[in-house]
């Protein structure tokens, strides 16, 4: 078997490993194995590539691989866990740079056919955009650049102009593949586009941007693969590109954003907004809440009148059992006036056969509130309203409440933002550690139960 065939057969094998690896990466239990598998695939691919007959000198390769490895190992071991997203964006930028370099190399090395030239310049553009965009994202995440959307007048027009120019110069190059100068212009333009597209996006949306740029860097590799007729680049690149898009979409959904909206921030005219909202409502869908539930070790359930209205007690009992099976501690914090009659919650929870031992009084749970990983507020409102503590003049000021807001995470399940019996706003819903799950309490909890069972 000749060398090239051997390399390619191994590539088939490596591609299969990548596919497996990516598949396993998507499931919590196997994710680590998946990563290792894909790492092995990469190693195998690199080793056989070294056998390529086109390679004449190994010196630079070895030097640069070693240097790159050292940097990679050092950075990856040094970084704090909290700095992960930044690091990923850095790596991503570097990856984009690599693709851009490869594409440029292909372009400068020889006059290309117009097909290959097109693909090469596409690879180059994508790589460059990924590179500069990722670095801006990194800056925003590490707060080297302001996390606020940076916008200016006419930015939409400027951006359209940039894109038009890029297309123009790219075409000029493709029409005459020897006119390398145009390529440099294209590189510059692509770098600027990367910056311009990411700048107007807010810091909170950065993970989505990174995921998208990550998908781009896959596409860049894929394009490079086309240019160099390398199957593995195509397969791996396409895999990353496609899965990256899906992942981006999933992340958008989880953050209740629209992908289109995030991406086109740079193309929307600036709207200034003077309203100052203290804190922000952060809705979340049950699917995402579930993963937090699953990881929690100690859980406090705070039921209120809404649980009674929804008759969610049976569902809650089921969830409790599942959480307990998952080795979490679950207790109920019963506020003395939760519901609409003394002992309202007791009646319901007894009906659902929740053990009396698990029902704790307000004072008991308040004294250990900080230790709860999650407080689940089910259709309660007034009884968890921190305004009773904080807001003099509120009609409920002075009423003792369950301090749900002091738990590590708070999930509030209710149907809307409407107020409770006392008719007052609840600042809890706007706290940083609070997530709102909107919906009928019974349905929401049944939903989470279902996730547990899947």
């Amino acid at each position: 078997m000749d060398n090239l065939v051997f390399i390619n057969v191994v590539y088939v094998f490596a591609a299969a490993l990548f596919i497996f690896g990516l598949k396993l990466l998507g499931h919590p239990a196997t994710a680590r194995k998946g990563n290792i598998l894909s790492g092995i695939a990469m190693l195998v691919a690199i080793i056989v590539t070294l056998m390529d007959q086109n390679i004449v000198s190994y010196g630079w390769i070895i030097v640069s691989v070693l240097a790159g490895s050292v940097v990679g190992i050092y950075v990856s071991q040094k970084v704090e866990m909290t700095g992960m997203p930044e690091l990923v964006s850095l790596f991503n930028g570097v990856g984009g740079l690599a693709s851009a370099a490869v594409a440029t190399a292909a372009i400068v090395a020889s006059d290309l056919s117009s097909g290959i030239a097109t693909i090469s310049v596409i690879a180059l553009i994508i790589g460059a955009v990924t590179f500069s965009g990722s670095f801006v994202a990194w800056g925003k995440l590490s707060e080297r650049i302001s996390g606020k959307p940076i916008v200016f007048h006419l930015q939409a027009i400027a951006n359209y102009g940039l894109i038009a120019a890029t297309i123009l110069f790219s075409s000029l190059y493709v029409m005459d593949p020897s006119s390398i100068t145009f390529v440099y212009v294209v590189i510059a333009l692509a770098l600027i586009i990367g910056v311009m597209v990411v700048l107007p996006i807010g810091g909170a949306d950065m993970p989505v941007v990174i995921s998208l740029l990550n998908s781009y860097s896959g596409l860049a590799a894929c394009a490079a693969g086309f240019a160099l007729e390398n199957n593995l680049l195509i397969v791996a690149g396409a895999l990353v590109g496609a899965s990256g898009i899906i992942l981006t979409n999933i992340m958008c959904k989880a953050m209740n954003r629209s992908l289109i909206n995030v991406l086109t921030s740079g193309f929307q005219e600036v709207v200034t907004n003077d309203v100052v909202v203290e804190g922000e409502i952060k809705p979340i869908i049950t699917e995402d809440a579930f993963y937090v539930f699953e990881a929690a070790q100690s859980i406090l359930v705070i039921p209120g009148y809404g649980m009674a209205v929804a008759q969610a007690q049976h569902a809650m009992k089921e969830l409790q059992e599942l959480l307990e099976k998952n080795d979490a501690e679950v207790v109920y914090g019963i506020h003395p006036v939760a519901g609409r009659m003394p002992g309202h919650m007791n009646v319901l929870l007894a009906e659902a056969d929740v053990s009396y031992d698990l029902l704790l009084e307000m004072d008991e749970v308040n004294s250990r509130m900080e230790n709860f990983d999650i407080a689940i507020v089910i259709g309660a409102n007034d009884v968890v309203n921190p305004a009773a503590r904080e807001l003099k003049g509120s009609p409920i000021y002075g009423m003792p409440v369950i301090n749900a807001d002091l738990a590590k995470n708070v999930f509030v399940i209710k149907r809307s933002m409407s107020s409770g019996f006392a008719g007052v706003e609840n600042p809890l819903f706007f706290k940083d550690n609070t997530r709102m799950i909107f919906g009928d309490a019974k349905e929401v909890i049944s939903n989470i139960v279902r996730q547990f069972n899947d």
């Binding site: 690199i46 898009i245 899906i246």
Partner: protein, 91 residues
Amino acid sequence: MITIYLLFILMLAIFLGFELIQKVPATLHTPLMSGANAISGITILAAIVLAGNDSSTAATVLGVIGVFCATVNVVGGYLVTDRMLAMFKKK
């Protein structure tokens, strides 16, 4: 004709990419992104060939840059992903 094969491969790989990532728990979003990012360092293969090739200095230099960058991406990417995943307790 080669392009046809490449197209086939591209089409299938894209479909596969879509199918593979269907339901990913939120906790895995970042590791998955990071892991995929490491895979996108696959450009290293092309860069290696370019860097080892003697055709032109420019290409070699670019190739070396490519190998360096891609290596950082690959090595760092896999290691970081692994660190993140190591934090999840096994179910």
